[in-house]
């Protein structure tokens, strides 16, 4: 990861709000809408400071009317604005999915490419703090599944800033999903690896470029978001046992960097997909299929393995939640089992 020496360390929340602020300064068409994004600065801090800097005309608190204001973002974008609109939790998508799935995602296509929808739809994802089934989901595969939405899922502050700037400048709808557990909030447990050096100047990270955050030779861990940080901790532990893991941070699901995944698995010849979304019909199956479809150029040493939420809603109680959300230990256990299993 190319980080300029001597730059400040920022939380992911601050990196996101800085990216938005700099782009708002550069482009007056950019404005922000959402619940509690003004004075409160966003429940997870992604819009902190924007109201003071740009005022209520460009940083608009909305009523609790997601179908309305996300639909309005689509309409405003079609008329030349560049809205950034926050859905407080991804879990709240249920009330506004028509605005997202049937309009934001499809109007460009249905218009034969004539309708331009430069909307960034931000949302908090992820569990691990016992907020139960309606406030802990990831659901990125749900958004990546429908054609027409780019899906961005950063794992650290540096990537978040570059990807957010890229997202705002993109002429297509971009879903930008930030995991609560890596935002650097002072009120939630965190992973240190997400708060990193971030240049003050603007920069972009192109979509569709996965990042090999740790090189290794024994196994490829394909992952994203907070799970990248869990995988980094797991990889250090595995290294002590002589297992050298390579970690591929996907960074964007749409577009998906298939080449980096395939190159890595060609090299290590083992694949673990570590996901925090539901197991079935999702990201982990997609990556497994990608590798499966390329077995003419990959010689696996072990069967493909996946860890994810085992197709149950996220339960509230701590021992139950920890059972279903993959932990660092889930990764180390899965990798050890993977390395110990040969193809027959």
């Amino acid at each position: 990861m190319a980080v300029a020496v001597g730059t400040r360390s920022l939380t992911m929340a601050k990196a996101i709000s800085e990216a938005i602020a700099q782009e708002m300064e550069r482009d007056e068409r950019v404005f922000v809408m959402g619940e509690d994004i003004g004075q409160y600065g966003g429940i997870f801090g992604a819009t902190e400071g924007l109201l003071g800097q740009f005022g209520p005309e460009r940083v608009m608190d909305t009523p609790i009317s997601e179908a309305g204001f996300i639909g309005a973002a689509t309409g405003a974008a079609a008329e030349g604005m560049r809205p950034i609109v926050e859905l407080m939790f991804v879990d709240f998508f249920g009330v506004c999915m028509d605005s997202i799935y049937n309009h934001l995602a499809k109007n460009t296509y249905m218009s034969g490419g004539n309708v331009r929808l430069p909307v960034v739809l931000t949302m908090a994802v992820g569990g691990g703090y016992n907020d139960a089934a309606q406030h802990s989901q990831c659901l990125w595969a749900t958004f990546a599944h429908v054609p027409g939405l780019k899906v961005v899922v950063p794992s650290n502050a540096y990537d978040a800033k570059g990807l957010m700037t890229e997202a705002i400048r993109d002429d297509n709808p971009v879903v930008f999903m930030f995991h609560k557990g890596i935002m650097g909030l002072p009120w939630m447990g965190y992973f240190e690896g997400a708060t990193v050096a971030v240049p003050e100047e603007q920069y972009t990270i192109p979509f569709g470029q996965a990042n090999v955050v740790r090189e290794g030779s024994d196994v490829t861990i394909v992952t994203l978001s907070q799970m990248v940080q869990k995988a980094a901790v797991a990889a250090e532990e595995l290294a002590r046992d002589g297992i050298d893991a390579e970690i591929v941070d996907l960074r964007t699901l749409v577009p998906l960097d298939t080449e980096t995944v395939l190159e890595s698995v060609r090299k290590t010849r083992r694949l673990l997909v570590a996901d925090e979304d539901y197991l079935s019909f999702g990201l982990s199956g997609e990556i497994a299929a990608l590798v499966g479809e390329n077995l003419d150029s990959i010689t696996l040493r072990s069967p493909i393995r996946r860890i994810a939420v085992p197709d149950v809603p996220i339960p509230y109680s701590r021992p139950l939640e920890q059972r279903v959300i993959p932990q660092v230990e889930s990764i180390t256990d899965a990798v050890r089992a993977l390395v110990a299993t040969s193809l027959s």
């Binding site: 009523p63 691990g128 009120w187 965190y190």
Partner: protein, 346 residues
Amino acid sequence: MATKTARPIDAHAEPTKEQLLWMYETMLVIRQYEETMVNVYLEGKLPPNIQQGLAFDIGSGPVPGEMHLAAGQEPVAVGVCAHLRDDDTVVGTHRPHHFAIAKGVPLDAMTAELFGKATGLSRGKGGHMHLFDVEHKFSCSGIEGASMPPATGAALAAKKQGRDSVAVAFFGEGAANQGTFHEALNLAGLWQLPVVFVCEDNGWAISVPKSASTAVASNAQRGAAYGIPGVDIGENDPIAVFKAAGEAVARARSGGGPTIIEVKTDRLLGHFQGDGEVYRPKEVVDALREADPIPVLAEKLRAAGIDNAGIDELHERASKRVDDAYDFARSSPYPEPDEALEHVFI
């Protein structure tokens, strides 16, 4: 425990002495419950016993996750539920404890659920925002605007089944800007269902004041759009709520269709525990405490001839109920981790 005999139904009248006592005691239980939770919730969440660098850890302690408390909003719950029977349905909100307590949800099992214990209402699967008590016909949701459609459906079921039970949807003034509010009111008005929509206007949708979120002064006005009578109660007074709800529940029960009631109430605590409340000055909250509805109702009890000893007895009984429930929850076991895999289907 509230029982049916403790709250005889006399719809159009002022509350009887017995009903006043029930409302007062239930308000005490709610307040005691919520104020106990303020402290319990903080256990294990503050330095130095949390991850270094944090000021607060939402995921730690015996009751992790978000916590939305209803201190100050008791009048809405008791004024409405005083008219309800066990076979009436209540659908609450993400801030559900006062409704659940007033509807008669057992305190032990509810508290154990908040602690994530195996003795909880849902064996720890739901937690504070997702309480389900089939026996007492209570449920709630962490999603804004999620109460009106299922309450409408419960009323539809009662009508189809020829029962005279009613349904109540509680919701905040913020949630009244969801599409579900408007769709459910239209259905209920169209089909003349036995449902009462009760809006708790505490003035704040997290940090957004009602004046910045709602195009009309009162959601009671919105009933007119759906042919539903609307009642606006501008004070946080359980007796005013009682009278309006009595008429609404009687109308619903007798086949007269839905009503919407909006009550101006006060949220004495933050949106969630840990909320710095940057959006409202401390003096505003202090002023709300000056108008606390509990001492106001105590005065009315005295005027009705209840002496101080009688009032003290209610306080003691409320405290004991709450203390017992917290003790029960603390001493209960956690579920086995693999229970997480059960109950997706039955």
